[in-house]
C-alpha cells in the first residue's frame, strides 16, 4: 500500500465533494472524516514499516514525470516524514470531528478544500524531487488560502492579503533558489540526489545566498521572528478549523523543509549562520512570549505562543546536535496534537461566549468542569510539564541548544539556553493567565447555563483522543523518538 494512493484518494474525494448538491450538508463532512481516518490507518502502517526498516519499495518510489525537465515523481519516506504524515492524518480527523454539527457555511467546498490541502501536505512530506516538492508546497497552500479568504472574520480579505504577500515573497524566493540550483546540477535534474551533490559544486558565496533565499521562504512559513506578523492576524481572522490546519500542520512544512532540504543540501552555510539563526529564534521566543502575555484576544495569544514554540524547534534544528534535532522532531509531533486540542477548546469557548476577548470570559469551570480538565491538561502539555507529551521534546531541544555545535563561542550556548528558558517561565505566565481568565472566576455571561455549555459528542471524542495522546506519550515517549530519529 503506497502513500501515494492516499494523496490520490484525498484529491479525488476532495474534488467530488465540490460536486455534492447544496442540500446535502453532512455528506462532505463524513467523507472527509472517512478519508482522514483511512489516512491515519495508512500512515500508521507506514510508520511501522519505517521503524522496521525492511521495506524499501514502499518507502521509495519513482515514476517518470517530466523527463525533459529532469523532474520525476519521486517520493521518499523517512522517520520524520512518516511522523508528520501520521500527525497530519490525526490532526485532520480531530479537525473534522470538531467541525461536525457546527453549521459551517458552504460545507461542500469547505471540506473539499480541506481534503485538497491534506493531499498537498502529505505530498510535501514525502516529495523527493525539488520540482515535486515545490508543486506540493503550493498545492497545500492554495486551498488554505481560499479557506482563509472565504470563511472567517470581517477583516479576512485584508488579512489574507497580508498572508498572501508573505507567502508570495517566500514562494518566489524558493522558486528562484530551486531553479538556480537546478541549473547548477551536473545533468540538469531536480532529483534529491542531484541536489545533495551541489555542496561540492557551488561556491561558498553561492551556498550562502541560496541558503538565505530558501531559509526566508521556510522561515515565513514557520514563522520566525521578524517574519511572523501574518500569523496572529491570520489566526484570529480565519475560522478556527482553518487555524488548526495552519498551526498544527502547515507550520511544520517550514521546519520539515529545513531538516530535509535546507540543512543537508547546504550544510556549510547552515553551520556558518547557525549563530545568527538561533539568535533570531530565541529573540523570537522571548518576543512572542512577551506579546502573548499582553493579548486579550485568545486566538492571538495562542498564535504568539505557537510562534514561541516554533522558534524553539527551529533553534534546535540549527543546533546541529543529534539529540536537539530528534527533540525537534518529537516536539513537531507533540505540538501538533496539543495545539489542535487547544484550538478545539478555543473554538468551543469562542462560540459559547460569542467573543474572542478573554476579559469577557470566565467561570467555564463551574459550568462545564470537563472543559476545565481538558484545558488544564492541554495547557500543561503546552508548557511542557513532565509526564505530558510536551516535556521530552522540549527537554531534548534545550539539551541540543545547550550543546549546539557551530556557535561562535560557548557563551552563546548558555545565553541562548537561558533566553529560551525565559520562554518556559513566560509560557507559564501567559498560559496560566489564560486558563484563569477563561475557566476560573465567576460566570460573567448570564445567558450561559450548564445545559448550553455542553460539548458535542464529537468534540468530546476529539478532546479525549488528544488527552490520551498527551498522557501516553508523556509516560512513554520512546515510540516517537524511535520514529523520528530514522
Amino acid at each position: 500500500m503506497s502513500i501515494i494512493y492516499l494523496i490520490i484518494l484525498a484529491i479525488a474525494v476532495g474534488i467530488f465533494t465540490f460536486a455534492i448538491h447544496k442540500s446535502n450538508t453532512s455528506l462532505a463532512a463524513w467523507l472527509a472524516l472517512a478519508v482522514s481516518t483511512v489516512g491515519v490507518g495508512i500512515t500508521a502502517l507506514l510508520c511501522r514499516i519505517v521503524v522496521r526498516g525492511n521495506d524499501g519499495d514502499v518507502l521509495d518510489q519513482r515514476f517518470d514525470w517530466l523527463p525533459d525537465l529532469g523532474a520525476s515523481f519521486a517520493t521518499h519516506v523517512n522517520g520524520m516524514s512518516a511522523a508528520l504524515c501520521l500527525l497530519a492524518s490525526i490532526c485532520f480527523v480531530l479537525i473534522i470531528l470538531s467541525t461536525i454539527n457546527k453549521n459551517i457555511e458552504k460545507p461542500n467546498s469547505f471540506y473539499g478544500l480541506l481534503l485538497l490541502s491534506f493531499a498537498g501536505l502529505i505530498g510535501v512530506f514525502i516529495a523527493w524531487d525539488a520540482m515535486l516538492f515545490y508543486i506540493f508546497w503550493e498545492l497545500a497552500l492554495i486551498p488554505v488560502y481560499f479557506l482563509c479568504s472565504m470563511w472567517g472574520g470581517e477583516n479576512r480579505i485584508k488579512v489574507s492579503f497580508k498572508f498572501f504577500i508573505y507567502t508570495f515573497v517566500g514562494s518566489l524566493l524558493m522558486l528562484i533558489g530551486l531553479i538556480y540550483m537546478y541549473n547548477k546540477t551536473p545533468n540538469h535534474s531536480f532529483s534529491y540526489a542531484a541536489f545533495a551533490q551541489l555542496k561540492d559544486v557551488l561556491t561558498a558565496a553561492e551556498q550562502q545566498g541560496l541558503f538565505w533565499m530558501l531559509f526566508i521562504a521556510f522561515a515565513i512559513k514557520m514563522p520566525i521572528f521578524p517574519l511572523h506578523t501574518w500569523q496572529p492576524a491570520t489566526y484570529s481572522q480565519s475560522i478556527t478549523p482553518v487555524t488548526m490546519v495552519l498551526s498544527a500542520i502547515m507550520v511544520k512544512m517550514g521546519l520539515f523543509a529545513v531538516v530535509r532540504w535546507l540543512n543537508p543540501i547546504l550544510p556549510e552555510a547552515g553551520h556558518t549562520f547557525s549563530t545568527v539563526i538561533m539568535a533570531l529564534c530565541v529573540i523570537g521566543i522571548v518576543y512572542a512570549s512577551l506579546l502573548a502575555m499582553v493579548q486579550s484576544n485568545i486566538k492571538k495569544l495562542v498564535a504568539y505562543s505557537s510562534i514561541a514554540h516554533i522558534g524553539l524547534m527551529c533553534a534546535a534544528l540549527f543546533s546541529f546536535n543529534d539529540i536537539g534535532i530528534i527533540g525537534a522532531g518529537v516536539q513537531m509531533f507533540s505540538h501538533g496534537i496539543n495545539i489542535i486540542g487547544m484550538w478545539i477548546l478555543v473554538y468551543f469557548i469562542e462560540t459559547k461566549f460569542k467573543t474572542k476577548d478573554m476579559n469577557q470570559m470566565g467561570g467555564m469551570a463551574a459550568l462545564n468542569p470537563t472543559f476545565a480538565i481538558f484545558l488544564v491538561v492541554i495547557t500543561l502539555a503546552n508548557v511542557a510539564l513532565p509526564l505530558t507529551n510536551g516535556f521530552i521534546g522540549e527537554f531534548m531541544m534545550f539539551n541540543g541548544i545547550f550543546n549546539a555545535k557551530y556557535l561562535n563561542g560557548n557563551t552563546y550556548n548558555v545565553l541562548f539556553t537561558v533566553l529560551a528558558g525565559l520562554g518556559i517561565i513566560l509560557g507559564a505566565v501567559y498560559s496560566l493567565g489564560m486558563v484563569q481568565k477563561v475557566a476560573f472566576g465567576d460566570v460573567k455571561d448570564n445567558s450561559l447555563t450548564k445545559e448550553n455549555t455542553k460539548f458535542t459528542n464529537f468534540e468530546f471524542v476529539a478532546l479525549c483522543i488528544v488527552t490520551i495522546l498527551v498522557i501516553i506519550f508523556g509516560f512513554y515517549p520512546q515510540p516517537i523518538i524511535d520514529l523520528v530519529k530514522i
Partner: protein, 637 residues
C-alpha cells in the same frame, strides 16, 4: 522487599484515578477513605522497606529498581527507576505517614465542600509526585516529581477557583517555582554534558575528577540551589509561600510545611557530595538561609492571619535548614526537616481546627480565649509551640540545637552566624507564643454569632492532632546528641552511607568540649524562654485595635517585597511587552510588511486584478510563475 518499591507511588496514583474519575459517582465516604487508605497502604509498604534497608549490607547501601526505560536516544538513556536507600526511605515514611494523617484530617475538614472528590484526587496526585521526587534514582525522575508537586500545589492553592485572589496566588506559586525550575534544568544539562548521564550513582561516582570550587561545579551547584530557592521558598523566591495559604489548610500542612517545601533540602542532601566540593556555593547557601530565616521571622512577628504567621514561620525554619546545609551539616538539615514536619504539620492542622471552629475566620484579632472552648486543639497547639520554640526535651530543641552547634564551630565567623541564628530562634519563640496567646488567651473578640458557634473539631480532626503532638514531643529521640550519654546519634548513623563521601571531604573544626556544648544548649534554652516571656508580657492583654506604626507596619507589610517585585519586575515586563505590541509589532514590523504590500498593491492595481479579490490574483501569480519557469527552462535547454 525493595523490589516492591513501585507499590509505594502506585497506590496514590490509583487513588487519584479512582477519586478523580469517580468524583461524581462515589459517595463522600468512599471518596475520602479510598485515597486515605491508598496512602496508608504506601506507608505500610514503606515501613516494610524501611525495615529491609535497616538490615542492608552497608557496602551495598542502595538498591536501584528499574520500572522501565523512560527514553533513550543515542548514548543517552534515562530510566524510570527508583532508588531505595537510607535517605529516600526516611522521606517515604514522612510523606506517607504525615500524608495519611492529613488525609484523615481532611475528611473532617473538607466534609462540607462541594469539591470533595476533586480535593482528594489532587491530594493523592500530590503524594504520588512527591514520592517520585524522593524515589527517583536520577535527576530527570526527580525533576518529574519536582514539577509534578509544583502542579499539585498550583491546583490546590487555587482549589476555590472562583476567588480571583486565590487564582492569582496559585499562579504566582507556579511561576516562581518555574523560575527555580529553570535553574534545576540548566544544572541537569550541565550534568549531562559532563557525565553523559543523570543517574545519581554514576554522577556521584564521577565527581572525583572535578576541580573543587571550579567553574563547572560552582555552576552546577548554584543552578541546583536556584531550583531549591524556588521550591523551598528561600530568598529571593519566597513570596509565593505566604500567598499559598489561600489553599485549604490541610494542604498548607502537607504541601507547604511538611513535605513539598523541604524538597529543596532533600535535593541538596541527595547531591551532597557535589555541594561539598563547592564551598563557595555552600557559603552562599549559608548567607541566603540566614537572611531568609531572619527576615521571615521578623515578618512573622507582625502578621494577623493565623496561617500567615505559620507560613512565615515555615519560610524561616526552612532558612535554618539551609543554614545547616551551608555549613555541611546535612544530617542536621534532614533532622530539622523531620521534626519540623511533625510540629509544623501539627500547628497547621491546629490552625485549621481553629478556623473550622471559627467558621472560616483566620484573623487572630477576631479570636481570643479559645483555650477553654477547644481543649484538644489548644493543648496540641501548645505542644507544637513549645516544640518549635526549642524547649527541651521536645523535638525542635534537638534539631535546632544541632544546627546551632554546627554554625558555632564553622570557621572563623562561626560565632557570628551562631549569634544571628540565635536571634532568629529568639524571634521564633516570640512570634509563636504571640500567636498562641492572642488566639487562645484573653477574651473572645469575634462576633456574637462566632462565639455561639465555636466548637471543638470532630474526632477525625483531633486524632491526627494528637498523633502529631506525640511525634512532636518524642521525635527528637532519633537524634539525641551523644553528650547526653544515651548512646549514639541514631540519625547520624542511619545517614552515614549517604553522607560518607562528604564527611571524608569536609573536616569540621569541631573544637567544642562537652561542657561547651552543654553551655550553648543552656544559652539556647534561656533565649527561647526569654522569647516566650516577652510574648507573654506584651500579648497577655492583647488590644486588637492598636494600629501598627513605623517598623511594625513595615513588618506587617512584609518588608514590601511583593510591592518591590511588582514594581521592579512584573510591571516593567508588562510595560515592555505593551511597547513591543503597539510600537514594534504594529508599527515597525507590520509597517514594513504593509509597505511592501502597498507597493505590490499599487503595482497590481493597474492590472485591476485586485477587483475580483485576492484569490484570482494569487492564481494569476501562480500561473505566471509556472509560465516563467517554463520559459526559463526553455532557455536553459
Amino acid at each position: 522487599m525493595s523490589q516492591y518499591i513501585y507499590l509505594v507511588p502506585l497506590f496514590p496514583l490509583i487513588g487519584f484515578l479512582i477519586a478523580g474519575l469517580g468524583r461524581n459517582v462515589l459517595g463522600k465516604t468512599l471518596l475520602g477513605w479510598i485515597p486515605s487508605m491508598a496512602v496508608l497502604a504506601s506507608f505500610v509498604v514503606s515501613l516494610l522497606i524501611f525495615r529491609d534497608v535497616q538490615h542492608m549490607d552497608p557496602e551495598h547501601a542502595s538498591v536501584v529498581v528499574q520500572i522501565y526505560n523512560f527514553f533513550h536516544v543515542g548514548n543517552f538513556s534515562v530510566n524510570f527507576s527508583f532508588q531505595v536507600d537510607q535517605l529516600s526511605t526516611l522521606f517515604l515514611l514522612i510523606i506517607t505517614g504525615i500524608g495519611f494523617l492529613i488525609h484523615v484530617y481532611s475528611i473532617g475538614y473538607m466534609s462540607h465542600d462541594e469539591g470533595f472528590g476533586k480535593y482528594f484526587a489532587y491530594l493523592n496526585l500530590f503524594v504520588f509526585n512527591m514520592l517520585l521526587l524522593v524515589l527517583g534514582s536520577n535527576y530527570i525522575i526527580m525533576f518529574i516529581g519536582w514539577e509534578g508537586v509544583g502542579l499539585c500545589s498550583y491546583l490546590l492553592i487555587g482549589f476555590w477557583y472562583k476567588k480571583k485572589e486565590y487564582c492569582n496566588a496559585a499562579k504566582k506559586a507556579f511561576i516562581m517555582n518555574r523560575i527555580g525550575d529553570l535553574g534545576f534544568l540548566i544544572a541537569v544539562f550541565l550534568i549531562i554534558s559532563r557525565f553523559g548521564t543523570t543517574e545519581f550513582s554514576e554522577v556521584f561516582r564521577s565527581q572525583a575528577g572535578i576541580v573543587a570550587n571550579g567553574p563547572f561545579i560552582l555552576a552546577v551547584t548554584l543552578c541546583l540551589f536556584i531550583g531549591a530557592t524556588g521550591k523551598s521558598a528561600q530568598l529571593p523566591l519566597f513570596t509565593w509561600l505566604p500567598d499559598a495559604m489561600a489553599g485549604p489548610t490541610p494542604v498548607s500542612a502537607l504541601i507547604h510545611a511538611a513535605t513539598m517545601v523541604t524538597a529543596g533540602v532533600y535535593m541538596i542532601v541527595r547531591s551532597n557530595i557535589l555541594f561539598t566540593i563547592a564551598p563557595v556555593t555552600q557559603h552562599i547557601i549559608l548567607m541566603v538561609g540566614l537572611a531568609t530565616a531572619l527576615i521571615a521571622a521578623t515578618i512573622a512577628t507582625r502578621q494577623n492571619d493565623i496561617k500567615k504567621v505559620l507560613a512565615y514561620s515555615t519560610v524561616s525554619q526552612l532558612g535554618f535548614m539551609f543554614m545547616a546545609i551551608g555549613v555541611g551539616a546535612y544530617t542536621a538539615a534532614v533532622f530539622h526537616v523531620i521534626t519540623h514536619a511533625f510540629f509544623k504539620a501539627l500547628l497547621f492542622l491546629g490552625s485549621g481546627s481553629v478556623i473550622h471552629g471559627m467558621s472560616g475566620e483566620q484573623d487572630i484579632r477576631m479570636m481570643g480565649g479559645l483555650k477553654d472552648k477547644m481543649k484538644t486543639t489548644y493543648y496540641t497547639f501548645l505542644i507544637g509551640c513549645i516544640a518549635i520554640a526549642g524547649i527541651p526535651p521536645l523535638s525542635g530543641f534537638f534539631s535546632k540545637d544541632e544546627i546551632m552547634m554546627h554554625l558555632f564551630t564553622n570557621g572563623a565567623y562561626g560565632k557570628v552566624f551562631w549569634a544571628l541564628g540565635m536571634i532568629a530562634a529568639f524571634m521564633t519563640a516570640f512570634y509563636m507564643f504571640r500567636l498562641l496567646f492572642i488566639t487562645f488567651f484573653g477574651k473572645f473578640r469575634g462576633t456574637h454569632e462566632q462565639e455561639h458557634h465555636v466548637h471543638e473539631s470532630p474526632a477525625l480532626m483531633t486524632m491526627p492532632l494528637i498523633v502529631l503532638a506525640i511525634l512532636s514531643i518524642g521525635g527528637g529521640l532519633i537524634g539525641v546528641p551523644e553528650v547526653f550519654g544515651l548512646g549514639e546519634h541514631w540519625l547520624k548513623e542511619w545517614l552515614e552511607p549517604i553522607l560518607l563521601k562528604s564527611e571524608l571531604a569536609h573536616i569540621y573544626i569541631n573544637e567544642l568540649s562537652h561542657r561547651g556544648e552543654l553551655l550553648l544548649m543552656a544559652i539556647a534554652v534561656i533565649i527561647a524562654f526569654l522569647g516566650i516571656i516577652l510574648a507573654w508580657s506584651v500579648y497577655k492583654n492583647y488590644d486588637a485595635k492598636k494600629q501598627n506604626k513605623g517598623i511594625a507596619k513595615f513588618l506587617e507589610d512584609k518588608w514590601l517585597f511583593d510591592e518591590a517585585y511588582d514594581n521592579a519586575i512584573v510591571k516593567p515586563t508588562f510595560a515592555a511587552a505593551n511597547v513591543l505590541k503597539t510600537n514594534v509589532e504594529e508599527q515597525v514590523i507590520d509597517g514594513a510588511v504593509n509597505g511592501v504590500g502597498k507597493l505590490l498593491h499599487a503595482a497590481s492595481n493597474r492590472l485591476r486584478y485586485l477587483q475580483s479579490g485576492m484569490v484570482g490574483f494569487y492564481l494569476f501569480i501562480m500561473v505566471a510563475g509556472i509560465i516563467a519557469l517554463a520559459i526559463l527552462l526553455f532557455f536553459i535547454h
